[in-house]
Subunit: 389 residues, 2 copies
């Protein structure tokens, strides 16, 4: 389609053509106590300027801050020890959860602080919290001055296992999830297991559905590992369960850096397995269903649909549903009864991705594939089967 | 700073590290009558989907639409001939000029249409107009669905010679120019000389200051070419003068694709020569001074300052001012008397770039260099000399 030949109807025309390449270094670290003054990993991320330490604006998830009353103190203590590297300009607290993305209130608070504190393109925004908080803080960092540096500090199982290690930011608009957003590689992602210990049981569990999702489309052995531990999720033993979060993060990371299309310029988007329904269920439940809980339902639904369509054995589909149930996920919800509204999620998903519909289905455990059509009657059947699980 | 070694304080920690590369094809075309149904260059840009023609949302600059009453008709005629390639979903008209960037009114109109018309990541926004209109429409395209495709159709000398061929989008906020924005490579830029014929004399002239700017920092021979034609600007002969616009666009294009830092992740930003003052003059005059007019003053000021500091000969500084004056630019303005406010522009410029101050000065015609400090007393002297020009 592109050509360096002059266009016939423009005899005097000239063309300039070239590829613009932008490379960014993406790094995810797994560890604990990153804010401890004796741990150099966090302060080492800051690149001091010629004028000395760089500015750092912290954005904290309200629920994190409540669970860790000494968090601000820890941040200041870390900064005191490493004051040659960074300087805390402000510590904001934002109510997290999907609602912080539904209007521009939280975004405006962060942008206002960036302006007021003179945060520049060489300064850092450090976002600590769940996926929604990271989404909105990352979006603010991405658009302010056309991009200030961002350190993601995911503190939930879901954000550590999935969205936090990615390159997407966004807020909701027109009632549509992530209608506004950006792709941007953060300066670093720190997965600190310390903060997982204070999550509510619901928040703790929620992240493991994304691990199931990525295992189902990419890694059979990983699914089996999760399956074997499915009844241990509620026990919350970090030593046993953190490897699941780390492996999930690693598969997401690899998909981004090795998948050839980190900014999703083509259509296929296998990491969104189960997500057309998940996004719609969140919206239909007015976000009372957590993203990870909705993903569990969406994954179960598209797994069963894969079986209804003959791509997957019923045995495998049952295994998947059983695993999710054993992990403590409820696979039913009253909003599923309003099929008409639920199915609008398919078109919304298509529009958000763009172009032809591309939904990931399973042809085996660990084997996702892209499908360009959903038969609504068959999806209705899948919904009926899901009710019986 | 980055390391793949485990961090000492985190004996069990793991790191994932990799470079994320994103490549985009940047193309700028120079020609005329791109909307003529017989000219294939514009319709060929659209990549039809499997479902047929892609959706195209047009955003027109109000002054362009007034100057070309048949423009909508031309768009529809072009689409009728090439209906296998694209489908017009809507034609919006937005008042252009810097004011369209000062609040979210225009942005919201464009985002609303993107939502209402189901514009997706495989659809196109076509922005036709001056630099400010391209900035806001480009920003909308960049954040909607994390990026829909953008075709830039700059219709002013300034946008064709400078900003339109670049990769920046943005709107103003907190009274700061381009406080919000993004870097994004458009799908294509079409510089159509047809539309230059109906510009007002002020708008026509305004773009040539950016040509002077880029010539001064990069290309002595080009400056001499402009100098030789400086008194012909007002004659508006396209055959004589369009090569200046094209050469300016080419130097900007090369800076982006060959300069090694298209998204300005490092500090040096030589294309912003004269711009710290220009941005502030625009703001202080409540945008009654056009961007190109302000650039002429800013370029003259930093050229004289280069001479005051002993980097440039007074002979060369005088040549530059004479050239700008002959082109019809006024190099004085009452806002220059308020030096205190004007000089705030230096810090605002630093903050917007980030990190250490980096101002481009001249050590010869065609030879820019980066300087990290401005001596205000000397800049005051430069202002006094500017008054005498």
């Amino acid at each position: 389609m592109s050509s360096s030949q002059p266009v016939a109807a423009n005899p005097g025309s000239r063309n300039l053509e070239a590829t613009v390449s932008v490379g960014s270094f993406h790094r995810v670290r797994f560890g604990r106590d990153y804010l401890s003054p004796s741990n150099p990993a966090f302060p080492e991320l800051f690149v001091p300027g010629v004028d000395g330490p760089v500015k750092a604006l912290f954005v904290l998830d309200e629920s994190l801050r409540k669970a860790w009353p000494a968090l601000e103190e820890s941040i200041h203590a870390c900064c005191d020890t490493h004051k040659d590297r960074f300087r805390v300009t402000d510590i904001l607290t934002i109510p997290g959860g999907e609602r912080c993305k539904n209007d521009t209130g939280s975004l405006d608070i962060i942008l206002g602080a960036i302006e007021k504190r003179g945060i520049c393109r060489q300064s850092y925004v450090i976002a600590m919290g769940g996926g929604a908080l990271l989404d909105v803080a990352g979006y603010a960092a991405s658009i302010a001055h056309r991009g200030v540096r961002l350190i993601r500090f995911p503190t939930t199982t879901l954000s550590q296992a999935d969205s936090g290690v990615g390159v997407k930011n966004g807020i909701n608009r027109f009632g549509k999830k992530n209608f506004l957003g950006s792709f941007d590689v953060p300066a670093a992602v720190l997965n600190d297991e310390t903060y997982l210990t204070t999550l509510s049981d619901r928040d703790w569990r929620a992240g493991f559905s994304e691990a199931v999702k990525v295992a189902l489309i990419k890694d059979q052995a990983f699914f089996e590992e999760i399956e074997n531990l499915s009844e241990e999720i509620e026990g919350r033993n970090l030593e046993t369960l953190n490897p699941i979060i780390q492996r999930s993060a690693e598969l997401h990371f690899k998909h981004i850096v090795e998948g050839g299309d980190p900014y999703e310029l083509t259509v296929a988007r296998p990491l969104d397995f189960g997500h057309w329904a998940a996004h719609k269920i969140e919206q239909m439940s007015d976000f009372s269903v957590l993203h990870g809980e909705a993903v569990a339902i969406g994954v179960a639904l598209d797994t069963i649909y894969s079986a209804v369509m003959g791509h997957l054995s019923w045995e495998d589909a049952d295994r998947v549903c059983r695993c999710l149930s054993k992990m403590g996920f409820s696979l039913s919800h009253e909003v599923l009864k309003d099929r008409e509204t639920l199915f609008e999620g398919i078109e919304e998903f298509r529009q958000h991705l763009g172009g032809e519909l591309a939904v990931t289905l399973l042809k085996g455990i660990g084997e996702g594939f892209t499908c360009h059509e959903i038969e609504l009657a068959k999806m209705g059947e899948a919904l009926e089967r899901l009710e019986e699980v």
